[in-house]
Point group: C2
Chain length 367, copies 2
């Protein structure tokens, strides 16, 4: 088992990564200071619950916890205020009190939804994450939780740190290949912004990662979480440097807004976004290698490195203008200057971005 501390003063918490962790969940919760006197609520989705929920509930009960559950449909539409209210109702019915915890068993959607519920119930109770996807390694560090509004993603939320993250690698074995690649997008991103050596490692070990080799995966998740934890520790509420974690997300979110959810998964959208950012970086003076290595790392992870032609550039630009990262009308972009280094640029012209979007369509076709 690997353990990583996310250092946030009073709100510091451990991320534990390894096999068989769900089978020791009760003991881990007790160690984290939770009391069996206060009931738990486990939130999961209808794809994950059939695989792991009963086992987890039984395990928690055998440790003396009272635990109820709330199952939402798998997929992004569950990040809604309606589902949020359902969780509140369950929490009240089950008598959750101020010392209770809400446990998220699932991927990023479940984590974000359950996390915002934990942030809001009684103005904030404890939150425990048990991620079951690779992508969730990203959302499990940093305490950003949210639901969507029909007009914008992640617009209703909070900063709420978990008390504990239990990353059971066994739960990743059932991930579909497309989800594995999508998750690796954020892993590669963490290399691209802070750690060139880790980008090399990702390229060299792409096949092992895609084959879900436990040792490789454990290391990749640990490294990804470590880079993010380091950045988050120095800027908990995204006043400054934390923004670099948005590499690829400005274009990526716009693509997600324009595409149907099934056409483009989150990791795929930000993969294309990171390719766009690399192009922008080269245009602004970074060596050509930045583009080539970015493309190699993402391509080897099975991710798209170009934009399907039918995407409408005007609609993408419009979605970008709606994105919350544009304070005061300027375009803010995270732009790589080298592999493992990025800068926050406030001076990016709309026309440059439009050109990049067009160029993304002319690159080699969908992998």
């Amino acid at each position: 088992m690997r353990e990583l501390m996310v250092n946030l003063g009073e709100r510091s918490y451990p991320i534990r990564i390894g096999s068989g962790l769900l089978a020791r969940a009760g003991e881990q919760l007790l160690q984290a200071g939770l009391s069996v006197k206060s009931p738990l609520l486990v939130v999961s989705d209808d794809a994950v619950a059939p695989l792991y929920l009963d086992g987890l509930l039984e395990q928690l009960r055998s440790s003396g916890f009272r635990a109820a559950s709330c199952i939402v449909p798998a997929g992004e539409p569950s990040k809604s205020l309606a589902r949020f209210e359902e969780i509140m109702t369950k929490a009240l019915e089950h008598g959750l009190d101020r010392k209770s915890a809400i446990v998220a068993l699932g991927g990023g959607v479940v984590g974000d939804l359950a996390g915002y519920a934990a942030a809001s119930y009684m103005r904030g109770i404890r939150f425990v994450q048990m991620p079951t996807t690779i992508l969730a390694h990203d959302s499990s560090v940093g305490g950003k939780v949210a639901v969507n509004h029909p007009m914008a993603k992640n617009i209703i939320g909070a900063f709420h740190q978990p008390s504990l993250v239990l990353y059971d690698l066994d739960t990743l074995k059932t991930l579909p290949r497309r989800e594995v690649s999508s998750g690796l997008a954020e892993v590669v991103k963490h290399g691209l912004i802070r750690d060139a050596t880790f980008v090399d490692w990702c390229i060299d070990n792409a096949e092992r990662l895609l084959a879900l080799d436990a040792e490789a995966l454990g290391y990749a998740l640990y490294k990804g979480c470590a880079v993010k934890a380091d950045i988050v520790s120095s800027d908990e509420t995204e006043q400054g440097v934390r923004a670099i974690l948005n590499l690829g997300h400005t274009i990526g979110h716009a693509l997600e807004a324009v595409a149907g959810y099934n056409e483009l998964h989150h990791g795929e959208a930000i993969s294309i976004g990171m390719i766009g950012s690399a192009m922008l970086g080269v245009q602004l003076g970074a060596p050509q290698e930045v583009y080539l290595r970015t493309r190699e790392a993402l391509g080897k992870a099975g991710l798209p490195v170009s934009l399907p032609e039918h995407f409408d550039t005007d609609r993408i630009m419009e979605a970008m203008m709606h994105d919350k990262k544009f304070g005061e009308g300027k375009m803010v972009f995270i732009v790589p200057t080298a592999i493992g280094e990025v800068e926050i640029r406030q001076d990016i012209r709309q026309q440059w971005v439009r050109d990049i979007v067009e160029r993304l369509k002319r690159e080699a076709s969908w992998p």
Copy 2:
């Protein structure tokens, strides 16, 4: 103009109390560091908006701010997730960004609702309170914001401090008498928990307060805010001492849950609750004077000091068991030991509380 700083480190903010403050709102917002580049959203209700909203919007625009508004029906039912979502929609439509603020123009309901919206929009933007009731002096200090769930009050919320509170005493002139008394309940409460001299002052000046004498009111609001600010500063997220602010609220919330909103306003409910707490205090050894002075202070402020007989004791007890202040099944009560002093008791037996509820019905009738 009186000014009070609420000391919360980085989240410190001023409360300004005086006449004519709304007419200087734009200048005050600029002083508080808000930028005219980021739009504002003013939330108000349909009782307050016709009196002050247009003037405020015009004033803000004349200072260079773009300001939209969102008007909800007056009254507790507006503290709902549905209204919360409406505010989110307005905020998105109006293009609020991370540097924007949501302004609450109204009483406690508007403050709680708009504050929770500000806490959640983009994971937290700035919040400015412009209270128009006496009761709101209480909710404008401390950053507790929330909406209700059909099963429980204030169960969905956050701790989110305002950047500025502008208390324009002129807006209190239109308050109905019943609302004036209801507001004075929290003023008196702040004396009862911390300041015996101020309780004496409240008794001596009850008539001036009920007549909305600006000088008396300004002083009373300043003192009430100061006591609360002092307690909140030492315990921002209610881990310990802050709980003493709940004097009268355990019974009070239960009464509100059982009564219709119009039968019992918040201040009336907690007035009866504080009488009950005083009875409990005397029963546990405090001098009889604690009960008599509490009763005098609340009675002179035009508040009820007994419970109408038709209230069902079983339903009140049940509502209390649902209340969020019962961690781990024990009954926690704030109990006065003298005028100006209270303690947190964790050992209160249900039967004692039931006896008190019964006794509250036998006291002198509704004022």
